[in-house]
Symmetry: C2
């Protein structure tokens, strides 16, 4: 019985038509990261289970791909890039601080699959470890803004809040057990998707009184510019140090954001965002595409001053932001902002006569030497078939040298889209094609990795 060729549920092949624009998108994101001096890091796919266990919470732990390896070790596949970063910082004590790193790697979660929800997907993170400065929080927001704009997006909102404002809220409500706080925060975080009625019910279910639930919504319903909202919060938090610090941090962050020239139209104070994971301690951010409200956040992160220190055994504040690569890519696709490209080659060197192969080889070599990307057709099929091959792959140009052309030292260059044909001397072919590529729409299809 033959084996059925198939992929596992929640896993995907990236065929060239997806890979080419995806690689281009990743190259742009990497350029933004490096323009801030973030350094690349890569950690192993497998880690000792004990490194990952106990960091994500019980629900998340069930999703780990965990098994016993050849040496009877208890191992897990990478679940995110943050815990491995914490392990790296603890393991290499001599990393110069602050350590600004990025990592773009797949992670694995045995989740229920669904629209845009996979078991293998890429994370794409920047983090600044060892800096408690709000300038570092601002840099994360700035990376967010530049990633969005570098991908051609203009309708997006960066939502900001601060865990300390939620801590202030909790104390303002009074009479709440500290250990319930993570649940309360996670419930508040569900407001945009679950709606106010469901959130009210869930909060009551967590033991909040009617008066407390009302105060939560008084807090969430504050309206106005960020400064106005913070101004309304200030008297409530006058006697609550955590809340007052949250207000002060948010005010400073907004000043830095203005200094960086990030337009306020993209910046929203959103007191409902809390981020699911327990380890956030300060600023939190999420990013939404205005035209695709149901897509969810495409870039998120925040400050987490406890996690890295937990591993390293010393105080190491940290802040970071992560691009939801798959979700963002599907958003760009839906908005028609993904350049389709089926080919990396800029031209096809056709094969008219097998006896002329040495000339085709020599010519292709010269063109490549001039930085051109040249695919050679593999055999002397009929020209129509070869041109169809180029057309099907979106290769814009075909170079044709028959025995007549070879004798005269020229090539025919066919521009497939325009059905135009030019005769060009072989001696100036490379220069002619370089000009052609520069000036034509072919330049709209740069290779992945050379995005600009």
């Amino acid at each position: 019985m033959p084996i059925q060729p198939r992929v596992l549920k929640g896993f995907r092949d990236y065929l060239p038509a997806q890979m080419i624009p995806r690689a281009r998108m990743i190259a742009r994101i990497r350029e933004v990261f490096e323009s801030f001096g973030f350094l690349p890091l890569e950690t192993p796919t497998l880690e000792y289970a004990e490194i990952l266990l106990g960091k994500y919470g019980q629900d998340a732990e069930k999703l780990l791909y965990r098994f016993t390896d050849h040496g009877e070790r208890d191992v897990c596949m990478r679940y995110d890039l943050t815990v491995p970063l914490a392990r790296v910082v603890a393991q290499y004590g001599d990393l110069p601080m602050p350590f600004k790193r990025y990592q773009i790697s797949p992670v694995w979660r045995g989740e229920n699959t669904g629209k845009g929800r996979y078991r293998e997907f890429y994370q794409c993170d920047v983090d600044i470890v060892g800096s408690g400065s709000l300038l570092s929080d601002c840099e994360c927001v700035w990376v967010d803004y530049l990633v969005m704009t570098s991908l051609g997006l203009s309708n997006f909102e960066i939502h900001l809040s601060n865990r300390k404002l939620l801590d202030g809220l909790a104390q303002w409500l009074g009479d709440l057990e500290t250990k319930r706080l993570p649940e309360v925060y996670r419930t508040i975080d569900k407001l945009p998707t679950a709606g106010p009625d469901a959130v009210k019910q869930m909060l009551a279910g967590l033991g909040l009184s009617d008066a407390q639930v009302a105060k939560v919504f008084q807090f969430l319903d504050l309206k106005g510019t960020p400064e106005e909202v913070l101004g309304k919060l200030a008297p409530w938090f006058a006697e609550i140090p955590a809340g007052a610090t949250g207000i002060q941090e948010m005010r400073t962050l907004l000043t830095l954001i203005d200094g960086a020239g990030i337009p306020r139209s993209h910046i929203h104070l959103d007191l409902s965002i809390a981020r699911g994971l327990d380890y956030y301690t300060g600023t939190v951010f999420e990013t939404f595409l205005t035209d695709l409200p149901h897509l969810g956040s495409v870039m998120s992160g925040g400050r987490y001053d406890g996690l890295i220190g937990f591993f390293a055994g010393r105080d190491l504040p940290a802040v970071g932001i992560s691009v939801g690569l798959d979700r963002l890519f599907s958003g760009l696709e839906e908005l028609g902002k993904v350049d389709r490209a089926l080919s990396t080659a800029q031209m096809l060197m056709t094969q008219m006569d097998a006896a002329l192969l040495p000339l085709y080889l020599k010519t292709a070599g010269e063109l490549r030497h001039h930085g051109l990307r040249v695919e050679m057709y593999h055999q002397a099929d009929k020209l129509g078939k070869q041109l169809q091959y180029a057309d099907k792959r979106g290769i814009p140009l075909a170079v044709i040298i028959g025995s007549d052309e070879a004798a005269r030292g020229v090539a025919q260059v066919k521009l497939l889209a325009e059905k135009r044909q030019d005769e060009v001397p072989l001696s100036s072919l490379a220069a002619w094609l370089v000009d052609q590529i520069k000036g034509s729409s072919a330049s709209a299809s740069p290779a992945p990795g050379r995005a600009r």
Copy 2:
């Protein structure tokens, strides 16, 4: 008890100092691949076990990372990139042929670890599926040559042979069971590492007579130019079609290699190379660094006309070549051909006065807008500490704006290596720095992904 931060045996962290040159090397290799029109593909890390089992041989199978997933599926981690390619070609029946793809991805093997031998390592493959043309074999050799030269290597040898020459040998020996052939080939393949005496003994152990062993070495000891060696083989293989075809294919391949302008000094006919895996059927190639003979092959591959068709249920010839990324990188390191780079940033924006943060932010933004990579120092430490930070990371320039400079609308630019300092008006700072970077050694540290 605190958790000990550590990585699994055979696994590695790539810290920035390794990642930066490594990413640059991969970018160069990718450019070569794309200059031939190879298309990027990415397949999942996990595959159904039945897809991988039975393709690599029993010894290899023991090395598979295999486990049962959450859904009780029998799964394996990727062992190479060839079998997943075969699965893809079978699964998507409408891929236009020939399908020229590259994939650069990690693979996992539970091997004994050793020098340059890891359990997680990258493979970096190009393959041409659906072309039986020797032009495709030639393209693989050409990719090999250009990858080597693009990495600054000039002392390397590409060793060529053809499985059909070995099939010819087997028939010329006479009286050999077909099923023993793979073992005989694998034994011959060990000649460079094990030496002639050990190989003679192993061949005798496989049941070859003294006369047969002598003939094997008559074959292996042939000397001369490739054409001379083929000329000596011709009479032996006159009545052996497989061998005669092998000679003809090798002659044609050599003509194409000449046509491509690959210097013969890099090309060696080496009848001992057979490649370990069973699935090779025609041309085989391996690549050695002349200055590091003990390193082993850094790029290898060959033609395998059976494997893809096995999955797809149709005749699909294929040829490919794979870069041994880790081995090649360690070779480049040993030869001093790896540019050390500790930083992605081209300059540090220092912080002299926290009150001037908006000006620092604005200036950093303008510089980035001009394509410069600017790291901002995170807090207003003493200038000496900030310059030490830049120095430690190899950031070549520091931009300094104190309150005096701010009042006069200028910046001090410190060239750390030269201990030089220039005063530049803020209005022309970006242009000045772009010129500086272009002209200075700082341009020798391009970001990964922008290798040229």
